[in-house]
């Protein structure tokens, strides 16, 4: 019998397999039961009932990109925060205040982005 860790993450794999299996199973049932009447008109993308103008490729505003960068910064930070959260009581005040300084540095970055108007949605 494999170890606890291996069993735990085998369960994750089994869940992924069964979850994907359920979706595939529903697709197959639907494929067998549903009608298939292909026509050119049905395969046109929806656009308010008119014929679509061009392809879907449209320009996306750069502000999405800025938010993605900000997210990356803080999300990486949370990865550091989780191991610390579990152990900081046993490590004592020094560990806590070091992390507070780390967070403050990043919050300074947030304040800078805020000041520069990166957080404004316009």
């Amino acid at each position: 019998m494999p170890g606890e860790y291996a069993i735990n993450y085998t369960a994750v794999l089994v869940a992924a397999g069964l979850g994907g299996g359920l979706v595939a199973f529903l697709f197959i049932i639907s494929y067998l039961l549903a009608p298939h009447h292909y026509s050119e008109e049905k395969a046109i993308s929806y656009e308010c009932g008119m014929l679509p103008m061009g392809r879907f490729w449209s320009q996306i505003h750069v502000r999405y990109y800025i938010f993605a960068i900000l997210f990356m910064i803080f999300d990486v930070e949370t990865v550091f925060l989780y191991p610390w959260a579990v152990t900081f009581v046993s490590l004592g005040p020094a560990a806590f205040f070091e992390m507070v300084i780390f967070i403050l540095v990043l919050l300074f970055g947030l304040a800078y982005a805020w000041k520069k108007g990166a957080l404004a949605w316009r």
Binding site: A15, L18, L110
Partner: protein, 346 residues
């Protein structure tokens, strides 16, 4: 029973439980929203419309499956899998009671955060693959919203990890035998629920799927059972978030009298009802209000929450002090939101 049969049986039971729960929830939501809006809701199929969601499911199975001619075939067809599977993976470590769990992972909380972030990839795939402007726009909005609200969500859960000094959900629940974390961290709970509403794309944060703006967002080109999978995922995600909140904030099964799993389900469904209530009550936000709210209010408050919990844990403050500070902060947050300027109108 050999271990692999055991886990397969548990995963299968969870899958069946979730499908039945979703069928019930779809009915419940329509009925509940109907009553709030002084309608009857579904009445025709079965007693009080009880068979409505079953009828809907059969209808979805029998619908023709359409795919736009120019759609990116792989992205379009794989998107339902990529949305559903990560959401289902959350349930691997959601304990219904001490024993009623597929596997009790030591890093349960972190694992849930990790896999729940994945389904955004599926939504972007759906939007990208559909060859539709509204779908792409909805997917990009969805990505922006989910990454913005993921931060307060993750940081609110960090407060729980600090409180419990553990990421194991069973340990976290057992520590709440006398005092649920809700009373310790009302601010954390508020942050979690608000961010969770946004992660679920539920009103008032349903901008990515807003019918009047992007006509259904990323899922616009999906029909029949493919669309049904997205719908299923949405409700499974609702159950997952409510279950997680009832575990880490409301104390899960650790209350007397009723059997443990029953307490867990009562709390989970109470939270689901609250989320449905919000949906039936509040109008949709504008997207600039949405992003401002995440970055300028929720994120700083989440760090304040961490700071309070850290000081409390480090210096062994009495319990009531941290509850009071956290509650005061929650009230300040509510007042800020109430007076929050809705951004410049252009």
């Amino acid at each position: 029973m050999p271990w692999y049969v055991d886990i397969t049986a548990r995963v299968g039971a969870m899958l069946i439980f979730l499908i039945l729960t979703v069928l019930a929830l779809v009915w419940l939501e329509r009925k509940f929203a109907g009553r709030i809006q002084m309608r009857l809701g579904p009445m025709r199929t079965g007693y009080q419309g009880l068979l409505q969601s079953l009828a809907d499911a059969v209808k979805l199975l029998l619908k023709e499956d359409l795919r736009p001619a120019n759609a990116d075939r792989w992205a379009f067809q794989m998107a339902p899998f990529v949305v559903f599977v990560p959401i289902f993976l959350i349930f691997v470590t959601i304990p219904f009671s001490r024993e009623l769990v597929i596997r009790n992972l030591d890093m349960g909380l972190f694992y849930i955060i990790a896999v729940s972030g994945l389904s955004i990839v599926g939504i972007v795939m759906a939007g990208w693959g559909s060859d539709n402007k509204y779908a792409l726009l909805g997917a990009v909005r969805s990505a922006a919203q989910m990454i913005s609200y993921e931060l307060p969500l993750v940081l609110a859960l960090l407060g729980i990890a600090m409180q419990a000094s553990s990421l194991n959900l069973v340990t976290i629940v057992e520590q709440q035998r006398f005092l649920p974390n809700l009373f310790m961290q009302p601010l954390g709970f508020t942050l979690f629920m608000v961010a969770a509403l946004a992660e679920l794309h539920r009103s008032p944060f349903d901008i990515p799927v807003a019918e009047s703006e992007v006509v259904g967002g990323p899922f616009i080109e999906y029909s029949g059972i493919r669309w049904g999978i997205f719908y299923l995922s949405e409700y499974v995600n609702l159950v997952a978030v409510a279950a997680l909140a009832s575990l880490v904030f409301l104390g899960g099964w650790e209350w007397p009298l009723l059997p443990p799993a029953a307490w867990f389900l009562v709390k989970t469904f109470a939270l689901i009802m609250v989320i449905m209530w919000v949906r039936a009550t509040l109008p949709r936000l504008r997207i600039d209000q949405l992003m401002d709210f995440a970055w300028k209010i929720l994120l700083p408050l989440a760090f304040v929450n961490i700071f309070i919990v850290g000081l409390y844990r480090l210096y062994q403050w009495p319990t009531w002090t941290v509850s009071l500070i956290s509650l005061a902060m929650a009230i300040v947050a509510a007042a800020t939101v109430y007076h929050f300027p809705g951004g410049e109108r252009r």
